[in-house]
Every structure is written in C-alpha cells, then in structure tokens.
C-alpha cells in the first residue's frame, strides 16, 4: 500500500507541470497513432468486408472497358455459380464535384441478394424494385444530403452525359459498423434504356459482373472456367474473388499506406524519447532517495518496480486519455472526410495496439534509469546528498 502510494506520488506530485506535459505528450502521440492506424484499417476495410463467395468478372484489358450483357447467361451455366448480377459505374455528380459518392447502375434484385450486408427494409425494397427510376442510398449518404424517401435527386452524368433524375425509394443500413453506408444504387435497365436512345454502341454493355458461388473452395476453378469461356472473344474477361479485386485497387496506393505506417512508428519513437527523457530526469533527481531506500534494506527489485511502475503509470494515463479522445475525434474525421473514408471506425485492434505501444514506451523509457538505480552503490549514493 505504502509503495503504491509512493508510486502515485512520484508519478504525479513531484513536478506537476512535468507530469502533465509528459502525460499530454503521450496522449497526443497515442491519438495520432490511433488515427493513423484507423486510416490504415479503413483502407483495408474493403478487403475485410469482402465475401469469399463473391467473384468479380471484368474486361481483361481494363475495368473501363465494358462486357456484353450476353455473357450473363453463359456465366450462369457454369457449375457452382448461384447468382449472376451485373452493373456499371455511373460516375454521376450531385450538384457539385465535391459531393463525391459512389453511384452504380445495378441489376437490383440479384445485387441485393448478393449483398445481404446491405439491409433494406422489405417495404423499401419492394418500392425500389418496382420503380425503374428509383434508387436506394446508404443511411449516411441520405443523412448527408437530407434526402427523404420520395425525393427526386438529380445526378449530372460524367460518363453518360445529361441530367438524370432518380427517386429515393429506400435507405439501406450496414449489417455492422464496417459496412459502407454512402453508396447509391439504381436500376441498370434505366441507364441502358436511355443509352439505347442515344448511343447504340454503348447499349447492352455492363461494367462488371458480380457472381455468387456456392462455396469459397471453388472460386479458383469457377474463375478459370469463366475466363476460358470468353478466351479469344472480342471482350476477354478476368475473374477473381472480390477480395483480390479490392486488393488490386488498394495496391495502387500501397506506397501511401507504407508511408502512414512509418509515420505511426515514428510517432511512437518520438514519444519514447520524450518519456525516456522525463524518466531520466526524475530518477536522476531521486538518486539520493533510492540510496536511502536501499540503505533501509529495500532491494533492487523494489526500486526497479518503483521506476518501472512510475513510467507505466505516466504512459498508461496518457494512453487512456489518448484512446478516450480517439473515438470522438475519429468520429469527427469520419463526418468531415466521409468522401474519402466512407467508414472511419476505431477498431478494437487499434486500441490494443495503442496499449502495446504504450507499454513498450514505458518499458523502454525505464530501462536505463532502472539499470542505473540497480548499479547504484548505497554509500556512493548517500554521498551525493546534501
């Protein structure tokens, strides 16, 4: 009890300003670390939430080249394929380019069947499926622009020119926090009809096929079979799992992720230096006291515990404060940067890493002071007093 009291008093009562500044330093470091880690986990979220039973088929040349709608029936024949859906990236702009969000023309019935993680109330779903000009939007997207069911929303086409009116028929929620609630889906038929009227060449073409298979184990085999079918045709295909597809996208920005990872590491190294400096100062000042404790018969272990404990106490206080701040600040980030990060949630794993980093910092900072205190010869230490 007495030693614990001494530990607390050492940590917080000796130099209040120094303690506060050190704790604050750790708080900010942990906050920065947590936010950077969250950016990284968010980046990989698409990979995490992808389903192993979903395949994506796209044009072998590039995703920007379409595939004929006629492939649909052929793909459906492949053994192991349960559902075939398809869609196109619409790339519409709502009022201003800054209001970016993902919008797709999809085959609605099969698409929703493939994505059970998008939860649409049955009435909304019915209304959406019945209305060719209808669309559904994620909860966050609808909230962002204040859309209500029945509202007419106009998108300015970039790939498909003109002004396109859609009617909001339903709002979907994510099955869990990691599901993107900022997307916009409408009927592919509506797009195709309009294209038919103007540009015959672009009609009956889809951007991608989404395929549901019966089990993850057959994904490689099904992919091969599909691609083999269209080999040597005008539009050759490449089929891969949704996960591989998303990873391919992320790979393009891998360098940024590596940079962020490095920065998060540097933040921890800097705070390590700061805490180590504080611990070195405080323990040097207390050399005499450690000598007295040793004189009274306290072993090196107790003194090591006092120093280590103090380092842990200061660092963990900062860490807990930092974690407590990470949540609201990440929330604010998510709101303001919704365009770039549709989902910005602090993962439990990030909090765990925060703690691990804090404990590492505490230990690293205390190592040299502990070693010095253990080496201290009592008679020598006492001479330094006065």
């Amino acid at each position: 009890m007495l030693l614990i009291r001494l530990l607390f008093k050492n940590a917080f009562l000796r130099h209040k300003l120094r303690s506060v500044l050190t704790v604050l330093g750790v708080t900010i470091a942990i906050l920065a670390f947590g936010l950077l880690r969250t950016v990284i986990t968010t980046w990989y979220l698409g990979v995490e939430t992808s389903s192993p039973t979903r395949l994506v088929t796209r044009n072998n040349v590039s995703i920007i080249f379409p595939l004929p709608l006629s492939y649909r029936e052929k793909i459906r024949q492949v053994e192991g394929v349960k559902i075939v859906s398809y869609g196109s990236w619409f790339g519409g702009v709502y009022k201003d380019k800054k209001n970016f969000f993902a919008n797709f023309a999809v085959e609605p019935r099969t698409y929703l069947e493939l994505y059970p993680e998008f939860i649409v109330p049955p009435d909304d779903k019915e209304a959406f499926l019945r209305d060719r000009r209808g669309f559904i939007a994620g909860k966050k997207l609808a909230d962002r622009f204040g859309w209500k069911k029945g509202d007419i929303v106009t998108l300015e086409g970039t790939i498909y020119p003109g002004k396109w009116d859609f009617i909001l028929r339903g709002i979907y929620r994510g099955r869990d926090l990691n599901i993107d609630e900022t997307q916009f889906f409408f009927h592919w038929d509506y797009l195709n009809e309009s294209v038919l009227k103007s540009k015959i060449s672009l009609s009956d073409q889809v951007g991608f096929y989404m395929i549901g298979i019966s089990s993850p184990g057959i994904s490689a085999q099904v992919s091969q079979e599909i691609d083999a079918m269209f080999k040597n045709s005008a539009a050759e295909t490449i089929t891969e799992t949704e996960k591989a597809f998303v990873q391919g996208f992320i790979a393009m920005s891998e360098a940024i992720i590596v940079a962020i990872q490095l920065v998060s590491l540097v933040v921890i190294l800097i705070i390590m230096a700061v805490v180590a400096n504080t611990m070195a100062m405080t323990t040097r000042e207390r050399t005499g006291e450690y000598s007295i404790l040793k004189t009274l018969g306290f072993g090196g272990g107790v003194i090591a515990l006092l120093i280590m404990g103090e380092s842990l106490l200061v660092t963990l206080s900062g860490c807990i404060l930092g974690i407590a701040l990470t949540y609201p600040i990440a929330g604010a980030f998510g709101t303001y940067l919704g365009t770039y990060f549709p989902v910005f949630n602090v993962e439990n794993e990030t909090v765990l890493l925060d703690f691990i980093a804090a404990v590492l910092v505490a230990f690293a900072a205390a190592v040299i002071p502990v070693r010095n205190a253990l080496k201290l010869r009592v008679a020598e230490g006492l001479r330094r007093i006065g």
């Binding site: 030693l3 008093k9 000796r14 009274l296 018969g297 009592v378 006492l382 006065g386």
Partner: protein, 235 residues
Amino acid sequence: MPPEQEPIVRIRRVSKSYRSGSRVLPVLEDISIDIGQGEFLALMGPSGSGKSTLLNLIAGIDRTDGGTIEIGGIDITKMSETELAEWRSLHVGFIFQFYNLIPVLTAYENVELPLYLTGLSRMEKSEHVRTALAVVKLKDRMDHYPAQLSGGEQQRVAIARAIVTDPTIIVADEPTGDLDRKSAQDVLDLMGRLNSESRKTIIMVTHDPRAARRARSILYLEKGVLSHAPDQTPF
C-alpha cells in the same frame, strides 16, 4: 551507568582504501575496536579522516577491504548484498545529517517505510509508527510533509524512522550538523534518552564537541588510526 561488558560490535583488523584511477587512497588501516551493548559512542576527527567510512562499514552499507565486523555475533563482511540488505532492515537504524526523508511522504509514511520490510500486520505497524512518533514528540505532526516541518522536527522524524524497527544499533552521521543550537539540543536530548532509558546502542559521528560530550565515550580517528579521547576512561 557503564555499558554492559558484552560487546555488540566487534571490529577486527579492518582496512579500507579508495581507488580513483591508478591512485589508491588508504582511509582505514588495521582498525580494531569493541563497542559494548548500550554504548553511546561519539566518533570524532578531522574532515576526511574516514569517520563516515567507518560508520558505513559498521552499518553494512559499504564493504571492507579486509578484516571482520561482527555485530550481535554475526560477521557482516561475509554476507552477500541481498543478505546485507535484509540484515540492515532488521538491525540498523540510520540517522543522517540531511535527515533524508522522502519529500512526498508524510511524517507518518516516512516512519512507516522501514516497517514495509517486516512481516508486521497493519495494526502492529500503525502501533509501532505511533509509538515512535510519540517518542520524538511529533505525534500531532504525523500528517505533515517534510517541507512543512523545521529542520529539527525533520531530524526527529528521521530518528523515529531509525527506531521504529527496534534495531540492534543506531548509527548517526553528524545528526546535528545541519541544525541550529536549540534543535541540536533537542535531538541530542532525544538520543541521550534513547540510550539511557531504552538502552539503545548508538554510534554517532560528530564534529561538534558539545554533541560529543553527550555521549558516554569518544573515539578519535586520525590518519587511519583510532585513539581514545585523553579525558575519557577506556572501556
């Protein structure tokens, strides 16, 4: 009242020198003395003569180069660091010139500190601390921090800390060196009472002849050699 004949401290042929680089500085050479149970010994001598060194050796916080030091029949020069630390916590009470209290602990907590290493229950600890603080007449100040106490009061807290474990010997290195006359007087009175009433064995290093006169006997250390004060009867 003479001290009992049975020596509690038996020092034989102790030598100690310090090395700094290639230079060797001999401080103590072939020192032998007996200190009886219940003795109150003052150790005097010029600065740098090795008084603190000798006291530290007796108290088990420094190592001899040769010779033996037996305290209560146990040779402490043969002990390991760990054994020595445990032995100190049981057998030695320390009083320093600069009090050496822990500034963030109250008077009570400072006195309680050495009891941490004993197996006493909480009740027993509290009882011991209160008794020790009563002996030094500071019971009413037990919640005060060192900074809230005068030098003399701090030294009395240090004395309470030294006696709280009921040690075999009490060592004091210039306990009045940093005090004004009145406070020094109080501290010496207290040490005198501990010796005469509680029969504590006290070894005190001092420069102050007034302080030395309060002791039962005086030893002089000069150039590494111990001698009896001319006006004191040898024991």
